[in-house]
Amino acid sequence: MTELWQALAQGVLIGSTYGLLALGMGLVYGVSGVVNFSHGDFISLGMFMCLALYSALSLDPYASAVITIPVMTAIGAVVYRFLIRPMVGHQFLMIVQLTLGLSLVLQNGILMVFGGQPARTPSMVESKLIILGEIVLRVPHLIAFAVSFGLAIGLYVMLRSTDFGRSIRAVHQNAHAAALMGIDVGRVQVLTFALGIGILALAAALLLPGTPIQPSQGLRYTVITLLVVVLGGMTNFVGIMLGGLVIGISEAFGTIYLSGPLGHLMPYIIFVAIMLFRPQGLTWSSQR
């Protein structure tokens, strides 16, 4: 029984960070219809920037985020403006291929700078534990969970009640009509993409403590993110956080209860099963 609660707790904590990774992608997809296959490599980039800051200034990853978030946001704006915007309106598949190319550039750029050896970035809270009855929780996971949900709520409120949020929703619903209402659609798309990449910098810092990193990990993060976004129904924030929890929990249960490859396959099996029976994703309303 302890095992069950342990798996559940761990799954919820990890799953919330998967939700956070996926929020940015869902936001960008909603506004510009772009699916970014270099998403995971941007997470890698954020993590390796934290590593560089640690080796140069011995900054804790959480402190590094103050620097990496604005830098990554700026990178996101540049990437959208000069690489992705020229392709919007072309075939969807062209953007897939463009971002796959970008993924190779990022992944191997990181490899060229940092080398291929797995690295770790220490943090103050790395090995701290909290024990609740028989369940052991790692403090970095708790911090990641709290920040992820805080940020999800913050984004939700931002979309509901600020002018920028309203313009994002307007572009999402109908870009032509939004343009006629005087919204600068191009600007909204650039800012959303930049925001999406900026969130990844934060997610990278949250995931980093105690996690070994290597340049080739990006694709796996991209795949997990895509699973979560699709489970969540692409643009629905509540659905995306829920999708993150489903993937996180199935991963935790898989590794605790099933040995070997079958355990690691759990998230994918659950994903394919859900999609076979609910092709529209987890959310119940048909509203998009």
């Binding site: 699916v35 296959f37 690489l83 020229p86 392709m87 072309h90 075939q91 969807f92 598949l93 062209m94 897939v96 291929q97 463009l98 796959l100 190319g101 970008l102 993924s103 190779l104 550039v105 990022l106 992944q107 191997n108 750029g109 490899l111 060229m112 080398g115 291929g116 340049p215 694709l219 796996r220 795949v223 895509l226 699973l227 699709v230 692409m234 070997g260 490859p261 690691h264 396959l265 994918y268 994903f271 394919v272 999609m275 076979l276 092709p279 529209q280």
Partner: protein, 326 residues
Amino acid sequence: MREEFYKTLMSPVWLGALVLTALLPFVLSSYYLHIVTLSLVYVALASSWNIVGGMAGQISMAHSLFIGIGAMLSSALLLKLGINMWLGMLISAVISGVLGAAIAWIDFRFQLGHLSFVLITLAFAEMGVIIVEGWDFLGGASGLMLPRDTGNFLAFQFGGGHGTFWVMLALAAVCIIVNLAILNTPLGYYLRTIRDNEKAAQAIGVNILRYKIAAMVISAVLASVVGTAYVRYLTFADPYLLISPVITIEIVLFATVGGLGRAFGPALGALLLVPLGEVLRGKLGGTLPGLHYFIYGVVVIAVILVTPRGLLPLFEAQWARWRARG
């Protein structure tokens, strides 16, 4: 089959190129012969991917799975159960074909358009990696070592450099001819209709599921067979090379750079980029690992931004201009 198929097949340019390439082993040093052989492997793989990715417009990320089954399963069957590799190649090809059909069918249940196909194939590719890495029968994380190639044709051995080169040339030619044939039969028209407008294709009565499955099965079987021949050439079944989604990404990029949906486009991309990558790796691989992939990425981004239809149309336009002048 349209007349153009036979015209291209019998054209002096195509036949001449084949004969000249077939003579290369007599003039090239083993280093350059290796580069050309590797290029032919990727010509065959990119061309087989083109049937699904280029013609039907379905970016399949699952091809690492088919290549991996062809390579890892046939090796495992030989080493662990003593099954002749010709038979292993057939078994792997059948499994790849069935899996391809299953993936196409599962995709049909999704309702997310093109994105779902990329996603479900990527998920299957990831599952393939996990299974191969975790299952000792398929070599696990350490891979499988094939016996030395002594040139015994009946045991799927082609006698090292020269023999393997000709096998690869034949496979690459077969893949290109299959592309040409499909483009010139109704299947090719249906696939392009599905690519350009799936809803319209459905409205005029094209059986989308049937043709998607057909494209996926043909493509998967070809990729699987090339995978078996490739692993025989490498003699080491390396899971990190053969089942990793990176191999699919490379193929997709070669096909895109050359020109999607054309019979010779993917081949052109592979013939330009593989030698470039190999030479860079040979010259700089020791000092800067990752450089050649970095450059692949930059080339792809540049080509997509400048000429989204790939390089082949540019070459064709130049060729037409040259002929008009001459």
